[in-house]
């Protein structure tokens, strides 16, 4: 018999390494043991990719793959359904860090390729990921890398690579920026046909040797005829890079509150584990600082929407209509997937919450989880209200919290909900009418929990 504490810990893991799990899913996962679940999460190749033929068929109007909304829809569908949740979560992490936006790129197939690259390689070696990122046409166009010529250097990509993607400000000189950019001269993309009359085509990476600066470059204390790959090899070895990634991983996967000791442990793991992101995340998920960090982060809109919809049991089948409402929902909460506001990405943590975004979040959750006919909600209510004998509203509240994925409520929220419910005494479940009443109350409780302050946290 798995303890409630063990189930709660796995629930925390699934919220952070995935997009949450329901009570029955958590019981099944917990029976395998926490470490085994972590092992599966960081080994996505053990599980098949999500089949998407039905989804693509019933959204056949997107056969052109032109719309960024379509890419975002597919991504939301994967967040909800993928048997490899950490792949999608890692893609979301890297998308925030290597923020590239449709607003400038304006090419659906290219944005899709970048997202797919982040998903496919996001749990691999960090150096390899940076090398792929530097060859990604959407990134090249986003940061004007196609205008970085041997005889006319454009420092944009070189600067952001150092400042925002790997080391952070203060850990390099302006000369390093210049020489980094020189190493990437000639790294460009193919011209593609214009979108009229037949739609968008994706570009491919192309290296033009005649446009590359073959001169000697001094970079971060090393000297040589470096190209982009050489520069990346140097970057990934830097202690500043380890620290930078440690901060980013801690902020995304662990806590909104800074913890320098934990960040240093992650940085050390990065260096000790050969810059392998999946292994670093394994270290994080098995650490005490991670286990102690439940509900210390504000959910990002994508996490909030995918997790809520996942709990509701909706959109498990690609046929279901209305999937495009989900990217619209994250947009109304301040996060438009594939279109971050700037190259810095989104401001996270408490900044996800302002009065307008909060209203959108509460309305969305209350609406989706208040839909008692949604398969996930119906199942949840059924499980929460089953059992024999009388049950108090407070016990029912605890059962609902457990079935919703081991959620937690503070005392003030509990008191408000119970007061609002206004049930004196216990609910008798001996009769059919009594069982129905218990179900009705459970349904109300699910909606109320979804509207609580605590539901905003992960």
């Amino acid at each position: 018999m798995v303890s409630r504490e063990e189930v709660s810990l796995v629930a925390h893991l699934m919220r952070r390494a995935g997009f949450g799990a329901s009570g029955p899913e958590l019981e099944e996962l917990s029976s395998r043991g926490y470490e085994s679940v972590v092992d599966d999460l960081v080994s996505p190749e053990r599980f098949p990719r999500l089949e998407e033929d039905v989804l693509e068929r019933h959204h056949a109007e997107h056969a052109d793959e032109e719309s960024p909304r379509w890419v975002a829809m597919k991504w939301m569908h994967r967040m909800i359904n993928s048997p490899r949740p950490l792949e999608e979560k890692a893609a979301l992490f890297w998308h925030g860090l290597f923020a590239t936006g449709w607003a400038k790129v304006r090419n659906g197939p290219m944005m899709n390729r970048q997202y797919s690259m982040l998903r496919d390689h996001g749990l691999g070696n960090f150096g390899n990921l940076l090398k792929r990122l530097s060859r990604d046409p959407a990134m090249i166009y986003w940061l004007d890398q196609q205008t970085n010529h041997g005889d006319a250097v454009n420092e944009n990509y070189g600067r952001e690579l150092l400042e925002l993607f790997s080391m952070g400000r203060g850990n390099y000189t302006e000369d390093d920026v210049r020489n980094c950019a020189r190493a990437f001269t000639g790294w460009t993309m193919t011209h593609v046909l214009p979108r009229y009359p037949s739609g968008y085509w994706p570009s491919d990476f192309v290296y033009r040797d005649e446009d590359h600066d073959h001169g000697v470059k001094e970079f971060l204390g090393e000297e040589g005829n470096f190209n982009g790959d050489d520069v990346i090899e140097i970057i990934v070895r830097q202690p500043a890079t380890a620290r930078f990634l440690g901060e980013a991983i801690h902020s995304f996967f662990v806590s909104d509150e800074r913890d320098d000791d934990a960040i240093q442990l992650i940085a050390d793991a990065y260096e000790g584990l050969g810059y392998e992101t999946g292994e670093v995340l394994r270290f994080v998920f098995l650490s005490d600082f991670f286990r102690d960090a439940a509900f210390r982060k504000v959910k990002s809109p994508a996490e909030f929407v995918a997790g809520t919809v996942r709990l509701s049991g909706r959109y498990r089948d690609g046929y279901e209509f209305g999937l495009a409402d989900l990217p619209s929902a994250t947009l109304s909460m301040g996060q438009e997937l594939l279109n971050p506001p700037t190259v810095e990405g989104w401001h996270t943590g408490r900044e996800w919450i302002d009065s307008s975004f909060l209203v959108s979040r509460v309305n969305f959750a209350a609406e989706r989880l208040g839909e008692v006919n949604a398969p996930g909600v119906a199942n949840l209510v059924e499980r929460a209200s089953q059992g024999e004998g009388a049950v108090s509203a407070e016990d029912l509240l605890d059962t609902c919290l457990y079935e919703m994925g081991c959620l937690w409520l503070g005392k003030p929220s509990r008191e408000i909900i119970l007061k609002e419910l206004g049930i004196e005494g216990k609910l008798c479940r001996e009769t059919a009418a009594g069982k129905d009443a218990a179900k009705r109350v459970a349904g109300q409780l699910v909606g109320m929990i979804a509207s609580s302050r605590e539901y905003q946290f992960t």
Binding site: R57, A60, E61
Partner: protein, 375 residues
């Protein structure tokens, strides 16, 4: 796997017709690309072209553009007329905001899929979420809907393919019930066939339909089984063509199927981004990968935009522009033209068949059904 085709057609059995299949003997000479119709939507053109119906002198192309539940209003037909030097098109049904369209019963049709036309010029279009068949005159006049959602015989669940046969019956694919249902033009249920599975005669999430113009048999794009199957109107399986893969004659989620008057079978091999052609016995003959050239409309669009013109001049290889992207449907007409609905590229690619039918006074036909001795 290929099941031997044995159809007694009722056609005269003479020296120039095959006595078993009923199709005329002919010499096949391949296909010639004719024209690409349509362009990305911009003051006319296509958005989400899914299927077409062939009228007397024009085509009716179903366009589907439904993104979310509050933005479902842009499904529409585009009428296309092929002219001597190009083509003309115009919307015949472009509903305003507020729903797929609002009929007398406030029906909302969010997800148009496929269409056909009957001998009276009435268009039929399926909607896979409403599970309805809507009818229009070619003028665009809306004539109402029929069809009931459900999982029983005669009910629709994921209505997709539609085809009107020579007797005026309307066949509709009930994809998620893994069945094909037969109705009168006004929607009275006449019967149907199909059961979930992968054995011959069983179906897995079927999509497009085609009626053989010679013998009235029904071709079904057995989408998730990666094959097409031929059925008699009574539901007896007569032929199975194709298997999973991307090699010659293999299929990856075929969505449309058509048969021409010579019995040749065309398949929209959607996820392989190509079309396939088989002879009446199911032997693989030819692949279509797309040959579109810029039509006059496309040229006009480019000539008014210098940025696009400059971009185009810098492209090294224009070949990619010619190719299919997710072709969803194929239709054939009486004049030996083949129409591929190239959904991902906002166009219809039209080919004409090059062939010679052996007339009564010409040479004796080669035997279609005996392998020549190998030398």
């Amino acid at each position: 796997m290929v099941i031997e085709l044995e159809i007694q057609s009722g056609r005269p059995s003479g020296p120039k017709y095959d006595g078993v299949t009923g199709y005329p003997y002919m010499l096949r000479g391949g296909h010639k690309f004719e024209i690409a119709l349509g362009q990305r939507l911009a003051l006319g053109g296509f958005k989400g072209p899914m299927d077409l119906a062939i009228g007397r002198d024009e085509l009716y192309v179903v366009n589907r553009f439904s993104e979310n539940s509050s933005n479902v209003a842009r499904n529409r037909f585009v009428r296309v007329t092929i002219e001597d030097e190009g083509y003309e098109d115009d919307d015949i049904y472009a509903p305003g905001p507020g729903g797929g369209f609002e009929s007398n019963g406030n029906e909302t049709l969010p997800s148009w899929v496929m269409c056909d036309i009957d001998d009276e010029g009435i268009l039929y279009v399926t909607d896979e979420h409403a599970n309805k068949v809507a009818r229009f005159r070619t003028s665009g006049e809306y004539l109402g809907v029929w069809g009931e959602s459900g999982e029983g015989a005669g009910e629709l669940n994921g209505a997709s393919g539609v085809a009107v046969d020579g007797e005026g019956s309307v066949w509709v694919t009930s994809s998620r019930n893994h069945r094909v249902e037969r109705f009168t033009k006004s929607g009275d249920y006449l019967g149907g066939f199909g059961v979930y599975g992968e054995a011959p005669g069983e179906l897995n999430y079927p999509w497009g339909l085609g009626i053989d113009p010679v013998n009235g048999t029904i071709m079904v794009a057995d989408w998730r089984n990666d094959r097409v199957q031929r059925f008699s109107p009574e539901g007896e399986v007569l032929q199975v063509i194709g298997e999973s893969g991307s090699g010659p004659g293999q299929m990856n989620r075929p969505s449309g199927v058509a048969v021409d008057k010579y019995g040749d079978i065309y398949v929209a091999d959607r996820s392989n981004h190509r079309g396939l052609m088989f002879n009446p016995r199911g032997g693989f003959l030819e692949s279509f990968i797309g040959d579109a050239t810029l039509n006059e409309r496309g040229m006009r669009k480019l000539m008014t935009n210098l940025d696009m013109l400059r971009m185009r001049e810098n492209v090294v290889d224009l070949d990619t522009e010619k190719r299919f992207l997710n072709p969803t449907s194929v239709k054939v007409d009486d004049e030996d033209r083949v129409y591929w609905v190239d959904s991902g590229r906002y166009r219809v690619q039209v080919y004409s068949k090059v062939c010679k039918v052996l007339g009564p006074d010409e040479i004796d036909p080669p035997s279609m059904f005996k392998d020549p001795a190998l030398s």
